[in-house]
Symmetry: none
Subunit: 215 residues, 4 copies
């Protein structure tokens, strides 16, 4: 996942090579979108990044729209798997939520982070828009559920699960915006700070009661 090494001269068996190229197309698209925005990125731009001509892109992807969708899916997949791990873990609601935050931060700082956040209905056909909305909503529900669970098991104080999930998602998504210009912290470090903030809050804790670093 380093530089967009053009796999157009990589040896290997056909199947594998094709897959690599397709991935390269998606990755190049993700980077271009993140850099210039979806609408300001022409297929020629992406093709140029790969040292390929425009129609070649269509060999691997059926649409500009689909490129955005694949980028989105790639990013969201990482969040989803973080959710999956959290679900499987033996831990309190809050601990699980913290785990999701860590995975989310990781995803959002990746090349696909921007697409993940900015793939919007507005830029997509109704059908595609609906698919994306559904996937996004899935993550949202998952986070709300964890909050609710935390409240139930006592690891999270009383709060509005919906607003809490929105606030968390917002803070995390926003990373995609500022991380381009200011990548001085690693995803893990950002996650750490966020966890600290969201768990303990701004108000100073009475000394001795540190609940941020779980037992």
């Amino acid at each position: 996942m380093g530089k967009p090494t053009s796999p157009w001269q990589v040896p290997g068996d056909r199947e594998r090579r094709r897959e690599l190229k397709r991935d390269a197309v998606i990755l190049a698209a993700a980077r271009a979108f993140r850099e210039r925005g979806y609408h300001n990125t022409s297929l020629d731009d992406i093709a140029a990044l790969l040292h390929v001509t425009k129609p070649t892109l269509y060999y691997y992807v059926s649409n500009k729209e689909q490129m955005l969708f694949e980028c989105f899916r790639e990013g969201l997949g990482r969040v989803a798997s973080a959710c999956g791990e959290a679900r499987g873990a033996q831990a309190s609601g809050r601990e699980r939520l913290v785990e999701v935050v860590r995975g989310y931060a990781e995803a959002i700082t990746s090349d696909f982070g921007w697409c993940m956040v900015r793939a919007e209905d507005q830029d997509l056909s109704p059908a595609m828009g609906a698919r994306i909305k559904k996937l996004k909503s899935g993550i949202d529900q998952e986070m709300r559920a964890l909050v609710r669970q935390g409240i139930t098991d006592g690891s999270i104080g009383h709060c509005d699960p919906k607003m809490t999930a929105f606030a968390l998602a917002g803070a995390l998504n926003w990373i995609a915006h500022w991380y381009r210009d200011d990548a001085s912290l690693s995803a893990a470090e950002i996650a750490e700070r966020f966890v600290e903030l969201f768990v303990n809050g701004l108000a100073p804790r009475p000394s001795g009661v540190t609940s941020g670093k779980s037992p």
Copy 2:
């Protein structure tokens, strides 16, 4: 600020009338952008909303880009004035920050909220992009300063001011995304929930120590 009442037949002195029309153009643009996105909104769309023809818009605004900028400025102005009030208030850093959050939520749920968040360098000429960046950065600095002040005066616990400001801004900006589909809460209510969350955190407070709603 109700329906985009077309002021094209409103009487009054010339200067005033012109201003009203210009405002109507900006408002119509804001609503269209919020609805369809910047790139998916054509000037014809905006003109149609106002029952006017496209070239007329140019009488009040020099650019499509400028429309976005004005919308942005309109939204940000409200945040800025909230900051101003906070700055002038006799209160702790945290209290002031809370005040800013309230104003921010108000602004972001307005017609101009979407433009405020989504006006990006990508969609704008370098010059315009720089201006916007500067304005945004101003708000950011202001928030960080409040956090720092709060730490100093003891109203805010130890934390990373930059990350905290980012998290707050992210959570608030994100409102622009979901508020279109789900406006079941008022800006004030949302602000309330956010304040509660950010001030107290998720971890359950030892009973008796509620510092969120303290005067």
Copy 3:
């Protein structure tokens, strides 16, 4: 309807001028289509014929497809009015049919003749295709009806109305093909020959029994 005089400098009141221009667009399209075929004619070609730029065409017509449709309609309209006149005339079925043949020949040798015949479902969206099919079918039914009426009133001998209408339409439509290269006869002359042939047939009539030119 002579040379495609570009009406782009013609004076006159707005409404009228606009109509003239639109007509000029349609006519230019008709000629280009007839010359090069629908698919081999680019909008640039048509624009060039009118000394105008491509987007200007869209000011008068919403589509390339619509151009074809308008050309088609223009041509068919003439046939339809011939049918109308025939319907209103005080005459035998055969005489009326002959009248339609004359109008048809006139239409098919016009600039719109080619489009009339070649505007096909294949080149058009389903919706447009259906509209055209319906219009074509209308003419067909009208001709069959005249044949049937002729049989009834004794002016036409026993025959299959459907096949007769198809044969007539085919012979007439085919004019559009060869008339481009060989315009040595006027529409009226062609019609005369066709009437003679279709009325009397190839077999030599017993002398004295000429029924073709009877009043």
Copy 4:
């Protein structure tokens, strides 16, 4: 000539197999062209019909244009051979002409009928266009000659041979248009009706003088 049985697994000697495949390509093209039109048919479409990939087609045919040409030739060949038989027959000009009409109807209702009629200069390179024009013109001349001969030998009444040939060709060619949607009659039946019409004409014959069914 049933379904386009893909002959890609047919055994047999090399030469023969290659020929079979080439024929299958031409036939598939003919059907696709007839269905969707020349320009709306992509080579991918044709390849798909044969369960083959696009480049494979180039092994059997050098061009898309050539496909059309071969389809055209296939159709026209049948007409030409009908002409040949007529030429060799011991019969009057009219009887020979009738024979050609029968063969023509057979050809035009075949899979290649559409291509026969619609292969136009417009869709073809100048060179190819010229070849086709020449072949078409040959048939035309042949029909005119038969008409002239019929006039000479008294089997055909006085008429304009050129217009007569055009009318006949037009009526016959037009079959290709309507036969797709309405194949309720066989080619032979259509020919019968056409012969009846063209020989006897529309005007009722004085009873007792039936010259359609030759003595």
